[in-house]
Symmetry: C2
Subunit: 345 residues, 2 copies
């Protein structure tokens, strides 16, 4: 507090009697300076208040040590967990993460990408907005930077690396489980906000075909475009149950947030979904949203391995920015989901 504020390395240099280039090297990596100088600098820093200017350092370094991350929503625990695992992995590797949230707006997403470019971030990881995103933004980033797409994948981008869940496996696994233990499930879709929505639908249909069941999908048209997920699930099933339809069906919801809305619809109509009530109403989700174990009934789902996805995204990005990708083929890392059997199905 009372320590005198020092603004430049120059001042610091004359204040503690160590040359500026030495200071510069010290702040980049203390081990690049001799033991004695390091100690002299350390004890000097205790007497004054100085931090190297963030912009000046970053501007001149060839590498900024920053990686940019864009996610579409902040109000979704799936993305925040993903973000957390990325931050942890990046921090461990000595990188700083700059996060931008596109708030589901392609214009903001585009601007965020431009910001990353103008900041010379060392690499970028993006969870795409979905149908509305401008794919050129990803192509542009991919051209200019080590770049990894995450979570949801636009099929048409042939050169962009991707890390995410293997939805064919995950959705397949839960579909298979539901078919095995009870009535074949109806798929309660989510609004098609991203590419996963369609991928999960497709995976469901494929597995149903495989098992010889008739697929059926409801809730494709959002009833309430305001509320993407919980509200959507609630509205669709509330409507259904009010018409006394599908009262004892099995539902596979496109994600857990939709499933939470579905659970609410069931409760509203006095229905008690559950695995134990053979033949009765069942509701399952996808993702393993953190609140699943606390719902009533607890929600059966397939977990996406968020930690693994985040870690893999960072690992792969670092490999790229170190130039370790041997060939230039597109890399697609798909990570398996894990069934979480609970009460609801």
């Amino acid at each position: 507090m009372q320590k005198p504020k020092i603004h430049t390395m120059e001042e610091l240099s004359s204040a503690i009697g160590v040359s500026r280039p030495t200071l510069s090297r010290y702040f980049q990596d203390p081990s690049k300076v001799s033991r004695t100088s390091a100690n002299r600098i350390l004890s000097g820093l205790e007497k004054v208040d100085y931090t190297p200017n963030f912009f000046a350092t970053r501007m001149n370094r060839k590498t900024t040590g920053m990686i940019g991350v864009i996610i579409p929503y902040l109000n979704d625990l799936f993305f925040t967990r993903l973000l957390e695992s990325i931050e942890t992995a990046a921090m461990r590797a000595g990188y700083t993460v700059i996060t931008q949230c596109s708030h589901a707006d392609p214009a903001i997403e585009k601007r965020a990408a431009e910001t990353f470019l103008s900041m010379n971030v060392d690499g970028a990881i993006v969870a795409p907005l979905g149908n509305h995103s401008d794919l050129q933004v990803y192509e542009r980033l991919n051209d200019r930077l080590p770049f990894v797409l995450m979570d949801s994948r636009p099929e048409t981008l042939a050169d962009v690396d991707f890390v995410g869940t293997d939805h064919l496996q995950s959705t397949g696994a839960i579909t298979e489980y539901l078919c095995r233990v009870g009535a074949p499930p109806v798929f309660l879709a989510m609004p098609r906000v991203n590419f996963n929505a369609l991928e999960r639908e497709a995976a469901y249909i494929k597995k149903m075909d495989e098992l010889g069941f008739e697929p059926r999908i409801i809730g494709v048209d959002p009833m309430d475009s305001q509320d993407h997920f919980e509200g959507h699930g609630l509205a669709v099933l509330d409507d259904m149950f009010s018409r006394q339809e599908l009262l004892d069906a099995s539902f596979l919801c496109a994600n857990d947030r939709v499933a939470i809305g579905a659970l609410r619809a069931a409760a509203k109509h006095g229905l008690e979904p559950g695995a134990l009530r053979r033949g009765g109403l069942r509701i399952a989700g996808h993702d393993d949203y953190p609140l699943c174990p606390f719902m009533t009934p607890t929600l059966t789902t397939v977990a996406q391995d968020v930690t693994a996805i985040g870690q893999a995204a960072v690992d792969h990005l670092l490999k790229k920015l170190r130039g370790e990708n041997i060939d230039n083929n597109q890399v697609i890392l798909l990570i398996n989901g894990v069934l979480k059997l609970r009460e609801s199905a």
Copy 2:
């Protein structure tokens, strides 16, 4: 894509035939340049690929147009909503928000604060970590920058401005409601991770005293220190119900996430909390977590006005950094909570 990449303003200047200082002024504010030059620059930019270097611009401007925000958790929808409202308010005012999450680690919080200082952000808004934070970090920020503390308030900081919910009012209101409509509530505390935990406890006790009821607080010692909230609520009440205690009590939970755990404990023991069952078990929360309307039963709570808090924090910060705070007295903005009566109490 195919447009030639231009790296410096100098190059751009000779490429489109406009002097560099004019370009500089254009990029800071297009209106500071004549109509004709603006058009010439615009059409020039369509032919090439150029963005001003983020660091170089920021380094030289007296004002960076950035405000720093630190929040303790990302995996909490309360904070993400707060963050969203701050970002919206800041964006509207033309500021860029840099977010850092301290991951409940005082060392990370401190480093984030230092980063903001070294970036010359125009101001900072921080939601404190809680008991473990280093208060000197806030004092330091407050000394060096326009600074506002948000959400939870360390009492000992006499000079730091604050924006948050009036817990005396909000907790008082729900306590009063619970007393009025049924049995006086027991307070199910949350782990004392931040100052709000204690403030709500105190507000509960005060209101109970006022109404002539005996306050009772449970769950102060975290049973499971891993899981702060839902798991805590579940563990405490599960334990309680297993011993056949408090089976028909009213519970006021320190926040909604604890309440969600409490709901789960009730369901696990076959109990159905509800406002309609007079004299029976009731559970209420605090915050209006977005999932409250989707719980079973839907969760009665007091809403914190997140939008108002975020907006007020930004407004006040902008006022400070424009030098509009007339006197230097500490400003404390307290915003009222609003009762959300639902099924659970």
